[in-house]
């Protein structure tokens, strides 16, 4: 296949770093430290017009980075898999079922582009759990671009100074931006600079092609150069992978070369041919597929980190209800997406769950 003939017209990249807080005692914003206050906050947000409130309304002070607070869930199938109850009653389960909140960080950002003709539209948010958070950057790439261009974007995100907060003079590297937001979140939601938290080594990234022209990228008919290009989508480095290309492929349907995810550590590139259809219905389904995959992986990673750190956590010990809920959910994921099932089936997660059970 001539990969160069594949013309992408819309692609979405979601990136999320993950932090797990070991000790929430003394958090500056009360609602994040107890079952009752957390559920009450969810109730308040759900009852508010537009289902959102300002950070200041929730915590009494102006947030350093956090602004508006919203429920981190919606009345959608995905969340009904997680919590099988009437959506109106979701706030009452917020603590026990580990339902997150979403805040919007300030300031907004823009992506500093190389000499690309396509647009990159960024959105940022912070997912808040009682035991941690993740800063999300969602990039929608619109306009004609190739898979090689997309790989360049990923490379630029991870290795370049690509994030420019509005009003700032110099762009930041991605890790720097995540660091800045993390500092703000520690201050706004936890115990400030003294927050005892651990971060995942690699951020989670999910890329999905939403629209294209020309041939599709087949997982089974790539030249070695094309394989290198594809691998750069999930592995933004010039170092040669020690694993064969086929080991990076997870077929979403058995042996379907057009329904697959390219996986490397926490990065996923998805090609879902069955939904790559210009019709609006398919477009929405594809977007949902992407969102569900990203959110399910992000949630699973959070839960795994919670369990993994529970032994060292003064606030969330192994007997804690949140940890127990996390164990239950990881043992039997309610949303059975292929990639999240793969994740909970990894030896690392299995060992962790066995260890907790023991």
């Amino acid at each position: 296949m001539a990969l160069a003939d594949t013309v992408l017209t819309e692609t979405i990249i979601d990136i999320s770093d993950l932090h797990t807080v070991l000790d929430t005692a003394g958090a500056s914003c009360g609602p994040f430290v107890s079952d009752q206050s957390y559920c009450d906050l969810h109730q308040r947000i759900s009852a508010a017009p537009g289902r959102h409130i300002g950070y200041v309304d929730a915590c009494g002070v102006e947030g350093t980075v956090l602004d508006q607070l919203r429920p981190g869930y919606a009345d959608e199938k995905f969340w009904h898999y997680i919590l099988n109850d009437s959506f109106a009653r979701y706030p009452t389960h917020a603590w026990r079922q580990i339902l997150p909140l979403v805040a919007f960080p300030r300031p907004r950002i823009e992506v500093v582009k190389r000499n690309w003709t396509f647009e990159i539209k960024p959105k940022t948010s912070v997912l808040l759990y009682p035991f941690g958070w993740s800063t999300r950057i969602s990039l929608r790439i619109v306009g004609r671009h190739s898979l090689a261009d997309l790989a360049d974007v990923v490379d630029h995100l991870f290795n370049g100074q690509c994030i420019k907060p509005l009003g700032a003079t110099t762009p930041l590297r991605l890790v720097e931006y995540f660091g800045r937001v993390a500092d703000g979140v520690r201050t706004d939601a936890f115990v400030g600079a003294h927050t005892n938290d651990v971060a995942e080594q690699m951020p989670l990234m999910v890329i999905t092609v939403l629209a294209k022209y020309g041939p599709s990228a087949s997982a089974m008919n790539l030249t070695s150069d094309e394989q290198r290009t594809m691998l750069r989508l999930v592995r933004p480095t010039n170092r040669v992978s020690s694993k064969p290309f086929a080991d990076h492929i997870r077929y979403l349907l058995p042996n379907d070369p057009f329904q697959y995810a390219l996986v490397h550590e926490g990065s996923y590139f998805m090609w879902v041919q069955s939904l790559l259809n210009p019709e609006k219905r398919y477009r929405q389904l594809l977007r949902c597929h992407h969102n569900n995959t990203f959110e399910s992986l992000e949630r699973a990673k959070h839960l795994k980190a919670l369990i993994a750190n529970s032994e060292d956590s003064p606030s969330f010990g192994t007997e804690d209800v949140l940890v127990q809920s996390a164990v239950t959910e990881l043992r039997k994921p309610k949303y059975k997406g292929k990639l999240v099932l793969d994740f909970v089936q990894t030896q690392e997660v299995k060992d962790l769950l066995t260890e907790v059970a023991g």
Binding site: M1, A2, D5, V7, R144, Y213, G214, P215, S216, S218, M220, N221, P254, N255, P257, F258, Q273, S274, L276
Partner: protein
Amino acid sequence: MRLDSLARTSLIGFYCLSVVGTLIACVTSTSVRAETTPTPSPTSPQVALDIGITPSRQTVGRQEQLDVFMIVTNKSAVDVRNLTVALFNSDFATLRLPSFPTLLPGFNSVNATASIEANPSAQFKQQQVLFALTYNWISQGQWVTAIQGSAVSIQVVRPFDEEAKGLLGGGAALLYLLLPVIPLVLGYQLMDRSLSGKFQFPTFGADYVVPAFLVAVLINLILLLAFKQLSVDYAEPSTMVAIILGSFLAGLGFAAARRYEDVRLVISWRYDDHDESLTYLKKALLRPDAPSAYETATGTDSEGATWSGVLLAQPAAGPALGATFQVSTPPPGNANAPRASHAEVDQVFTDGSIRPGRAPRRELVKLLEEHKLVPNRAVGITHDGIAKDTNVVTSLKELHITGRTATQLVRYT
């Protein structure tokens, strides 16, 4: 007086009788001389030649040369002159005749050698070849010509006649009877086995003998009835070549006619390792009896190498492996470039899969030929895990298939 008259009457009678007798004798003598060569009177000298003719061998093949040794002995005292020899047998031709001395004195001998040749159409049988010697001598002042013949027996034999004698009685005849049938059977088998995809060199096994014999008899009978004057001469090399070649071609023809569909597949729908994408798809989708569904096969060949690809049937050669394809509309940009409309794509595909039936397949090929859709390989053929850069592989050595999974040969992406 009475005595005188009696004597005179008797003398007159005797005279008359003598005259009549002389006249009759003269007339008779003249008529005999006019009809035959004068022969010496019993008192003339007798001439006798002893002619000994011996061929250098008793048998000869057509167009083969044979020397004939001659010894002529004049057994009389009379000189013989102008001795010449001539050959009398239409199946033989003279290559060289001996030239005898003009004079063969009495009680002398002369020897000579003649060379003759059996004609290309000489009959295969024992032939009597007559050598006629003509000579003259003088008898009572007159030249006398005589011809004396001597025949020799020469057998005109078929080629390999000697070899055929080594067979059991009637073997040669049986072989000649079977001669048109064996190439026919071999030609048939050659074509039939070639088309079956499992080629083996044809054989004429013992189980063919009886039917072949029957067919041979029937063929000969039919030929005899159809051409009453036909006499096939296998000893004629061109005839033999024509019979063998014609029979072989007839065998090929019978098999080809019987497996007409296979022949058509071989000629028009045979995959080639160098087939371009469009050619390959056309052959795979539109061939007669093209499968409605395709399978990806994995297997190993006789050398232990692993293969994977879409399982295809190569006419007269067993399995072949092919690639799967995706077709897509070319990217917009050039307004003049042809692009398939949604309606055209919908005619061929539903949810990316080709619609059942031949009409959508024909329409797909048409769109590809018009460049309104562009084909690209989706899943290539793999050989020991390495993708091959061809659309089809036909040279598979005894592929042993270990797994099959349903697949789509072509899909719209």
